[in-house]
Symmetry: C2
Subunit: 292 residues, 2 copies
Amino acid sequence: MKFKRTERIGAIVKILSDNPNKIFTLSYFTNQFNAAKSTISEDLIVVKNVFEKLELGKVITISGAAGGVKYIPKTSKAENEEFLMELCEKISDKTRILSGGFLYLIDLIYDPSIAAKIGKIFASNIDYAEADYVVTMETKGIPMALMTAKAMNLPLVIIRKDIKVSEGPTLSMTYVNGNSKVESMSLPRKALKSNSKVILIDDFMRGGGTIKGMMDLMTEFGAEVIGTGVFISTMEPEAKMVKDYISLIQLDVNGDIITVEPNLKTFKDEYKNEDLEGISEIDNILDEDEEE
Amino acid sequence: MKFKRTERIGAIVKILSDNPNKIFTLSYFTNQFNAAKSTISEDLIVVKNVFEKLELGKVITISGAAGGVKYIPKTSKAENEEFLMELCEKISDKTRILSGGFLYLIDLIYDPSIAAKIGKIFASNIDYAEADYVVTMETKGIPMALMTAKAMNLPLVIIRKDIKVSEGPTLSMTYVNGNSKVESMSLPRKALKSNSKVILIDDFMRGGGTIKGMMDLMTEFGAEVIGTGVFISTMEPEAKMVKDYISLIQLDVNGDIITVEPNLKTFKDEYKNEDLEGISEIDNILDEDEEE
């Protein structure tokens, strides 16, 4: 089958966009579209420009034997702020307040489009270059953790609250949650390879007890936590049990007053300071290619 | 900012692909790209061809006041078979067998790419035109249910096993699970609007007790189940407690022998019998447009 340039470009965008952080070789595209390497190289320059111009992410090439082209999801600072401001407005709706000072948020955090956007924001603001897994704890954090793992192209690991016999030998421990209750968490021995590097994702942090528990569990597995993202952190208590985390939204509920705002200092401006080690700009690579 | 045709096409593909089943008006694109309606119409014909030619899904237009263009994820029968055959090969690995005859599968079903593909296959083979929600039960089904909801552009509802005080007034009931144990399930009253139509998604079905329980819970909410998808169903018992479901993979574990195969009769051939009510082909609409 033959493809026109416009068709090839559309198809390349679709393939890259559906597979963030997955490397595709030039040969993959030359086979797919029955086209010359130089033709595909030119297509990729156009694709790169589309992503740059519309701030839809980065398309970069990796040189070397395992080299190729890949799409890295990036959200712009302005886009993050607009999205989170809208979300904060929804969260500040007083009808969300439940008895006990809890907020009803599951309609928002289970929403696939919202979860996907949160995933892309985490992927834009947490350095996952060396990470092996995204780890979360059931249940509410799972949608955003899955979308983060999708954006980062990493496997997802879900810590369970009870021990599941159907998952084989399991490592369990207790922790103190945000309501000062002792709870348990468990994870199958097979879930993590030894000496792994992990990114922790959770939906909510009050004192940090759950994240602290997850960190302790990672230590038991011989894994290193290299980044932590929580969707909402409370303003009180100011001192959390963990540091080195980012949170997207800060929240305070006092009686029937909800104070909620995007945590703007969190966000890198991805379209200004690009500094990705070991990665060359596509134009250079393609120029070299064509000199062959 | 000005865009070349190739750039506009790349960008339109990215926008549609990131937002399945979301309607974008022609005006949205004319504003986005500072281009005439006729120009965008021509672009959309190219985009439609890209999706058709590469079997990446359908791009269709909806006429009328709320009209516009949208992308519907569709997987081809051949693609489903290839993907599921590969997955079956991984599942049939004997080291997955745990004591009690359980299979270790969470590395596969939590994998974001696998979950995304399963979501697209469910969206290609379950009729969700009238659905309001995708409903699943925690925990293992959540990743594939979220990706199904994303492909269908529907909100996700997660049934919990324990009662969560932090989610407001909750409706709870008991059911008998696949291991003949009585368990409970609960869902906040606010989670579903009255008279909703829902799609049920779960990862595993033995006797059908869990799905039957979910159906009973939906009845309590005044909701109608209009489609059910399970990832794996066991060959035994042949008689399930529910009917009118699709399953993607059939499984039997007998000692150390795993029999596993794609449930091929499930899959529609999406690229042959297209019959979507109330939807016109894009070319017709665009022709009309240009006659104005």
